[in-house]
Symmetry: C2
Subunit: 404 residues, 2 copies
């Protein structure tokens, strides 16, 4: 009789955003007259930029003609896209990353969930707490995280690195030595980030202890301060210890278009074994490329028009972030983030848990946010609002919260 992967049975409850979706659906069903404003899940709302739309229409036309039709994509992604990425996201920033170290994917969620596969089953992972749930859950499914304790909301075999207001959301190096360190900078959910010199300390630490940093740079486009690195490869030595995961979801509004990439430098090795070659093998075996049309859309992100249009889009969302941050401050909330990231991380009012605050916000302001506890135990007492709504909705939500 066949047996299942019983690691799945160890997973607590359901995925955070599925739980929120169910709560919102129940509220909406019970209150059909209320208009909900969603500042919960980090989904964008602005339409795709004109340069991207034009590229997609052109690519669709190409698919309609035998001479320009495109079937299976190259394993690592089309050259035109990998060239644009290498040039704009790396070489223009002084990072020496080559095209064949770049792997185009269907998004950073898949990559950040799949990357653990190339590491040993016994690998010890370290994560920031709070953290994007996918890092831990994907390792839990692979059996790396031990057992889950409902009381402490922690897995027995995960190294948690608390990030709270007390340490300025910059964790200490862990006491136990990890094999894999997940860092998301600028951070989801706290909306904070590290300075470049702090990041350099982490790169040095990883090289010293023999750990790999899995660096999720999905929010890089929102960096506004000069002393923040746009890629971990701006730090010296990063190519021997870091894999960088990037997304087009937040810089170009591709949450429903699906495109991302991973950088696995050739210098990153375990003994003689190149992790770049392992990831290439995984790509070739388990994935068949992002759609041609989507890769052309990605190329347009780097065109002159695309860059200008997306700069405006990012500015639009950051105007929302500033409005939420300032508005909540005025109302007496303690607020973090929103400067280098599209997330506002607020302290829930004293004595209110983050799920209680979620319910209160939903019921009284009809605004959906994300409870900090959903991102890990150190997220308790915090609450995430995103800047991805429309400006009008953002102001309306703010007003409702202020009146609450």
């Amino acid at each position: 009789m066949f047996q299942i992967n019983d690691n799945y049975q160890k997973l607590p409850g359901s995925y955070l955003f599925s739980t929120i979706a169910k709560k919102v659906a129940a509220f909406t069903a019970a209150n059909p007259d209320k208009t909900i404003i969603r500042l919960g899940i980090g989904d964008v709302t602005q339409p795709l930029a004109p340069a991207i739309l034009a590229a997609m229409h052109k690519a669709v036309d190409e698919m309609g003609c035998a001479e320009t039709f495109h079937g299976y994509a190259p394993d690592l992604g089309y050259d035109f896209l990998r060239r644009a990425i290498a040039e704009n996201d790396y070489r223009a920033r002084g990072c020496d990353i080559e095209e064949d170290e770049i792997f185009v994917s269907d998004g950073a969620k898949s990559d950040s969930a799949n990357i653990q596969e190339i590491f040993a089953a016994e690998s010890r992972i370290a994560v920031c707490d709070p953290v994007y749930p996918v890092y831990v859950d994907s390792n839990a499914m692979a059996g790396r995280t031990g057992t889950y304790d409902k009381e402490t909301e922690r897995w027995s075999n995960v190294i948690y690195m608390p990030c709270t207001a007390e340490n300025g959301f910059v964790p200490e190096f862990p006491e136990e030595t990890p094999d894999l360190i997940y860092l998301c900078l600028p951070n989801n959910p706290t909306g904070t980030t590290f300075t470049k010199s702090k990041l350099q300390e982490w790169v040095d630490y990883a090289n010293r202890v023999g750990a790999v940093i899995l660096y999720d740079g999905a929010y890089e486009a929102y960096i506004s301060e000069p002393d923040v690195a746009h890629s971990i490869y701006e730090c010296s030595g990063a190519k021997t210890c870091a894999i960088e995961l990037k997304s087009f979801s937040k810089n170009a509004g591709f949450t429903g278009v699906r495109l991302g990439y991973a950088v696995v430098p050739k210098e990153l090795k375990c003994g003689d074994v190149s992790l770049r070659n392992m990831w290439a093998r995984r790509h070739g075996t388990k994935f068949n490329g992002a759609p041609y049309i989507v890769q052309r859309a990605g190329e347009a992100v780097y065109s002159r028009e695309g860059k200008a249009q997306l700069k405006e889009q990012v500015a639009y969302y950051m105007k929302n972030a500033a409005a939420i941050k300032e508005g909540l401050k005025k109302s007496g909330y303690t607020v973090f983030g929103g400067v280098n990231a599209p997330y506002i991380w607020l302290k829930t009012p004293s004595g209110t848990t983050s799920w209680e605050f979620f319910d209160r916000l939903l019921e009284n302001a009809n605004v959906v946010g994300t409870p900090g506890a959903g991102f890990g135990p150190s997220g308790e007492g915090y609450f995430r609002l995103t800047a991805f709504g429309s400006y009008e909705n953002t102001l309306a939500a703010l007003e409702r919260i202020q009146k609450m």
Copy 2:
């Protein structure tokens, strides 16, 4: 010091089609004047049908307008697509499959590589030999296949079920009891299939021994004979023992568009645990949906115009299949397949290995095919040609082979 997943080190050589691509690239570089005709990798060549192009243009326009923009897709896929699939691929054939048993994905390659994750690490897999390499390689990466013996070209812990001319390409039930049985019908690479009554025997066998059938139906659209099932759920009892994987690559030319789906029936359980719920959890954690534009393209496959246009496209490729089959027969080759599938499986001339035949075909006819040995040891002595070229190229390739 971090360690890698050393199962990757056990994998022999590189992925079949990467090897072929390298050989072809080397030949082309050395012979820039020769025109290669590719009947190797199963990639389509006909442009997307007009109904699909129209749906994609419309969806791109929707993405350009805030009111109709689509961000993250629902975890399981959009209702409009799952409804069309349930109605057309299942209920119209008398199969009682519900929308929430259907999981939209980026293609059957990903699904067939990922599906093993929800089963126990100790699961014993059975595969047809020859076989699509992804089934075995994805299990090898997960550590289920034991060690690889270069002499026999077999993994120590895989149950191989030879499919050769001698057994009409229909395997016997294996002597050892498997936990997971991969069946691809109509078959890649042999181009042959089972009758519905034979498939029913396999369903009964799986239910009897407690195995799960992982049923890859990627070539279903090519079925021309009446006694062949279009879905495994046409067999009674299949919902308690089978997962069906489907692709839009071959029925609609989506190899570069990327769309597929998995069906995991609610009745499929291990004790109390629903595999459907496990797969839903995996989808929610590790995947973020197929692009909205692509899901709308998938919906158009089921429109009246789409169906008519794709029927013609399938007929076009099957005309190629018939031409290759008849032409090779006339030249004295022994040929299989090509009736319910777009693949021709020919016996290589006596004394010629399949890789020797590959080289001979490339050098003398400038035609690329796929050596049977690349699909497993029982593929030795066979060679695969696909019907996915243009009609003109197919006839030209045939002529070159006949002259060889």
